[in-house]
Symmetry: D2
Subunit: 284 residues, 4 copies
């Protein structure tokens, strides 16, 4: 996605593109809602760890981090958050998480989870200080968040204990449990519910149909967001699965709100006041 | 705010204006975080109702509705949601709330809360069907959400039982408990924590300073969002109150993310992909 | 209650007594469920404090402590627990609370709540170390948990700021906010929902009826628990308020479980295996 | 265990026995805390189901049921409870769950979980009415809770889709997803954390040591609960794993509470007021 925007900026994008990733339903489902479940699933399948009472640090409080934090807190873990963005940090505070620097907690946490979209968030200096048995895994956007390369040095011993699980052992006997060699835990060690696949596939299909059907010149060689109404359409297609019943606006109400009764339900001026940051930069 | 945008659209705005209301910190604090607490406070101070086991319907699942739902669910209420927007409705489903039409639940709920920004959401036809002792209140943006006017008919008896609390009694003896005559519960029957006031006042003060200091022509006669960096600044000023410690980007990481180490932490292209709907239209 | 048991042990009880306090419904409602709400209500009405992001230490993790911790955690506070009983301490861990000594956290918490049933849990040595603006209150069984007497020394200034709220000011200007002068917050600064009153009054009335109707010699001069079946009866009388529907055992199931279809639903041998500690000693 | 008590009652128990199962730590860990995690794990590993938005009915609100309900609610499921015991039913209400008869919800739930300790809780009449794709599993004490035998009739087709997962297909094409053929999900499809094994093994080892070391005649041919102090000892041995720090009573406090500073921390008279029902009969 980043590359698409860079191409666009550089004027090198030769076709119109839809930024499906930033559609609301996609964002929420692939990130917050899906990760809320897959962090638990991924950790259980690889380590059988008990969540209750565990101390966990989650690096990054974007959608992915929010999902991981909420799930682990709900199951009795004590969760710390690291953040670079003051707004996300304040959200973490209000949601009941202590916002710390990694160095404040690295010696006593049981689990370290990265979801920043950044690189070298957990470097060798932190890996060296983790306690024996600490579990380290990545829920972010690439395999760069944990500096796994730094662990390939002669004094450390690697033991491959089962698929996706390595023990890295220090000379003094301390070991850490590295999952998926630092690659994405949710892709490597968990599964994706069919419901989420359906949301994603529907969004992608609608984007392609939109691009195909659009009148000549409607879309230029740029990156576009899925039209809001289509985002709403994807959502509405999935409501019956939950036996959910939408309320319809009366004519009087639609007029009062200055909306079309069939949506989109966000008024036009919202387009231009884009500052709402649903996702913080700290995650992909 | 709506009026400001209408003036702007009509070309009748004679000074630049800052839309402080849609700054992230303001939104989150005045709406989600503050309402999460004030719904409980407002209901307790007026009615002493026990939340555990109560059935509640919350109309509108924007920031205000999300706050009300989360608080009541956490204290053991069973919460139903009504929505017009399929995206907000899907969020409600994933957060564990049944999405219903008001008519499906109006006969058996104990509490009705409006947070839609809409008008006549709870009309006389619903008030007639509520059960005896049902509490009705409004957390939305104006006093139009509950059609209080419809209750001023000869066959209904009003009893003012204490400040902000009226009993409206039907001929058969059924009574409903109307709070603040349908005006905002959080303003009428609850208090605003000084922390929230501080966030709001800081945001407003910074907006004024920005407008005052801006070079000639920087702002036209239009409505502007608070520059993102200032939003972040407001947040960072309030972090020490929580003993929260921000992580700083290394030079290498800032380069990797293509960000200034001091923020803003959301890259520029996010401005143009405005579809993130943090607040749904259903609320103010 | 303690006195009743002491009298009984000393053979000085001259009438049979019912220990209504330890009936299950009374325990749960007056303690866990009621305190879960009244801690929030009591703090809001006296101080308007925002719960989100606040650091709180709760002394004692019995029913009252569990209720306070659950409510504050749900509203975004970061909660620490102190305990003397390892079983309650382990429960606190599994519920996601850090178990600490008061001295570990006293310097940086925003709110201190006692619910131990013990005396001098918060002594002057802790009061001296609290940070400026710290709120101190008691949800336990008497006014001895906070050593308020120790605050009546010449160098400290007391300011009565409003009913139930005193500022105690140190020579260096630090002040703490003492609620209800250390008496019970839930009785002094909050209200009791009618639902809870109904549970309690029903239990007491049934106990009196049982004692009055009992055949000569059924009850000796001792302290008795409310017969289990009556406890269940109190509960069943309150289920319709929640539109709750009990399932009835089939004949075959009752036989399989060796139970009477009308209860009591706990088999007789459970009477003798009393070790289940629903309430820890740490609270009244 | 039931058999032990029956033998004891019949005078046929030929050695003393320790009821380790009803020790507090064992109860809480093997039941509430462990099931809170294993219900999620067992469902994910077998079906990859998404929990968010799912409607679930949990039969039985004892420790196991409470664990299942809490976990699923936390992850966004809408949970209904069935109960035979009015006290447990009232607890379910106060914890925010609708208490229903199975017949009220069986047609529209997505998942059915039994944790009653009872037999034929989900009989063929309910299996017939489930919707297509409904998942059925058992977390209770034996394989009798779901009437699996009733599904072995000629008109139903069984498809074994993977280990522990069967599809049972009705003539009209409706299928239900039966896990572990109705045996215990937590034993068949999930794992037990080493922490829980440690609690259980420690408790059993201490019970054996106690029986072995006891003076002649201390234990008769009966079933005994683990002495309370030992239960506390097991808990205290596991606190360091959570970096939990117990508070010690001062001499003055121990005297005030009439307790030994080293425990047991529950006063003796609590033994005789056994009515606290931590576990309801509805589960094993």
């Amino acid at each position: 996605l980043k590359i698409l925007y860079q191409l666009s900026k550089a004027g090198k994008l030769c076709v119109p593109a839809m930024n499906v990733n930033d559609s609301v339903t996609k964002q929420k489902f692939d990130n917050l809602y899906c990760c809320r479940e897959s962090i638990l699933d991924g950790l259980k399948r690889t380590t059988d760890v008990m969540f209750g009472g565990k101390q966990v640090v989650v690096c990054g409080y974007g959608e992915v981090g929010k999902g991981c934090c909420a799930a682990l807190k709900a199951l009795g873990s004590i969760v710390y958050v690291t953040e670079i963005d003051p707004i996300c940090a304040l959200q973490a505070c209000m949601d009941g998480f202590r916002v710390v620097k990694l160095s404040q907690v690295i010696r006593h946490v049981d689990i370290v989870i990265t979801c920043t979209g950044n690189k070298n968030v957990v470097g060798r200096e932190y890996l060296d200080r983790m306690k024996n048995g600490c579990i380290v895994c990545n829920m972010g956007h690439s395999n760069t968040e944990i500096d796994v390369a730094s662990l390939h040095t002669p004094e450390l011993t690697w033991e491959h204990v089962r698929p996706q699980v390595d023990h890295v052992i220090w000379p003094d006997g301390k070991k850490i449990i590295l999952l998926a060699e630092g690659r994405l835990l949710n892709l490597s060690c968990s599964t994706v519910p069919t419901f989420v696949l359906s949301i994603t596939a529907t969004t992608q299909a609608l984007a392609l149909i939109e691009l195909y059907n659009a009148t000549e010149g409607r879309y230029k060689q740029d990156v576009y967001l899925l039209p809001k109404k289509m985002d709403e359409y994807v959502a509405s297609l999935h409501l019956p699965a939950f036996d959910a019943h939408l309320t319809e606006l009366t004519d009087e109400q639609a007029k009062y709100l200055n909306l079309n009764k069939n949506g989109p339900f966000k008024p036009n001026y919202y387009r231009h006041v884009s500052a709402q940051r649903k996702t913080c930069i700290s995650h992909n």
